[in-house]
Subunit: 307 residues, 2 copies
């Protein structure tokens, strides 16, 4: 099967969208950016054996790759316009491609990101998703903008995805984890949410925002650096799922919540005058100074591919 | 060196541009799409050993990857806005990265494409460039639109890049090629042009357009298919460089010109009433019917990664 046929058969059926003027099939795609809006764009690569286990279901590989990229749009408060996909494949495996396309279609639907272009090449399995969104000019959420006196908040629960990965890697075999909890934790790794709606609702409310991809402490440090302030995190306030705490106990759960990557929840600063969005938790405050301080002493680095 | 430091050190210094509102450093980048324009986007992946020899200079690997993607903007008649780069690297090699960043900077400048975002991962060498441009709404050049009676035209010269690659692969060692010709042919492979200005000048003139990446015959077939017409190519009219003909003789030169990939010249249909742009050649005509016809009998397939 030729590369053109692969693209046509598997990837061109979910390329339509409200702002898609031209989808897969010409030299490039065309998207409408609404008047008064700026284009928001981000690129994210997922490599087999690095970002996901080689034997993860192809449905989940596709879904997770899109969710990770879409999460950057969420962190900017952008509404999705579309995406392109560059995939490197070791071979043409129809069953695998079928599964992959199912996951891609699901993510395309869930995150409102029509697939408008792409490239397929031969090589080790690697997926690069470029997402495009739009935001009213000058309104986007940045990492800079937090200031002393504001609240530090996070969406959802933390640490689930990292435990899900650890389970997939076979590192948690000694644990007696409830079946439903297992399913929940695995899905938090393989089918992460991307907080697009929350990001939109934070426009004009939050003063800074980032998505948690490298771990709470590591990503909080990006806000602290960009905003020129200190973030103080109260570990007792960290939102953790019942599944996480029930599976591995309070101490390890806390370590996962502080340093585990790929939860794709939003971390943001909020003036005290603003109301906390549903599903979010106040985990600390912004102070004058620099860096991130937490009452727990833990290894502070997030996941970094070149360490 | 961490992945963040790599991005900062090597790739964030040429991220400024007239329409860049926010460059590398936050969760996503922001670009201004001018009023009355639509966004044009394309993604292109280059893999070591597939799209270029492993030992190609890193400067050239970078330059060529950007040129290949930019060529899709040229084929749409889009003016460049910016690009993102996803690079997978086997190891951190400062000298290699330095060279790569030099080539990237040169291409960024030559094609007016500020680098506004990206991702670095570990893996076999692979580069995915996503280019964004803009075009007055509804004015973009498509593959469809050619109709019977029009002229078929091409820019530049054909086949040089394919011979340059063949030389790099050591397949032309028996030939006695003039040093300047060698340099020219190699540069046509490793430092291809991208006909951005020509594409812009074809707006409102050409009725269809494509860039020649897979070979003249293969890409002509895309215009024929999309436009629902027949393209008749006169092999005697094909523009060939003196270097090509002098190096390998008329017959092989013709084969390279008809089927060689990656010249990144523009192939377009032009009504007889329009004037031919400088540097372009009429190579045939559009007729009623289907497919591509040439007086030469040759293998008609361009390069296809899954064949």
């Amino acid at each position: 099967m030729s590369e053109f046929a692969i693209i046509t058969q598997y990837f061109s059926s979910f390329g339509a969208g409200a702002n898609v003027l031209l989808s897969v099939g010409d030299d490039a795609a065309a998207l409408r950016v609404d008047e008064g809006c700026e284009l928001i764009v981000s690129t994210d690569t997922s490599v087999a054996g690095v970002h996901f286990p080689d034997d993860l279901f192809p449905e989940d590989i596709a879904y997770k790759a899109v969710a990770a990229a879409a999460s950057d749009l969420a962190a900017m408060g952008a509404s999705p316009l579309g995406m392109t996909l560059a995939i490197s494949l070791p071979e043409h495996d129809a069953l695998w491609l079928h599964g992959f396309s199912q996951g891609l279609a699901a993510a395309s639907r869930d995150f409102d990101l029509p697939l408008v272009g792409g490239d397929t090449t031969r090589g080790l399995l690697s997926i690069t998703v470029t997402v495009m969104g739009q935001c009213a000019t000058g309104q986007k959420l940045l990492r800079s903008g937090a200031s002393a006196g504001e609240l530090l908040c996070v969406s959802g629960t933390l640490g689930d995805s990292a435990l899900g990965l650890s389970m997939l890697q076979g590192k948690e075999r000694g644990l007696d984890i409830d079946f439903e909890d297992q399913e929940f934790l695995l899905s938090r790794f393989s089918r992460p949410a991307s907080r697009i709606s929350l990001g939109l609702s934070l426009l004009g409310q939050a003063t800074s925002c980032i998505d948690i991809s490298d771990g709470l402490l590591a990503d909080a440090a990006h806000i602290a650096d960009a905003s020129g302030c200190k973030l103080v995190i109260d570990s007792a306030r960290l939102p953790m799922s019942e599944a996480l705490a029930a599976s591995i106990g309070r101490d390890r759960a806390l370590a996962f919540a502080l340093t585990g990557g790929e939860d794709f929840e939003l971390l943001f600063s909020l003036p005290e005058s603003k109301s906390l969005p549903d599903g979010c938790t106040i985990i600390g405050r912004v102070e004058a100074g620099e860096g991130v301080v937490c009452d727990q002493v833990l290894e502070k680095d997030g996941y970094d591919h070149f360490h």
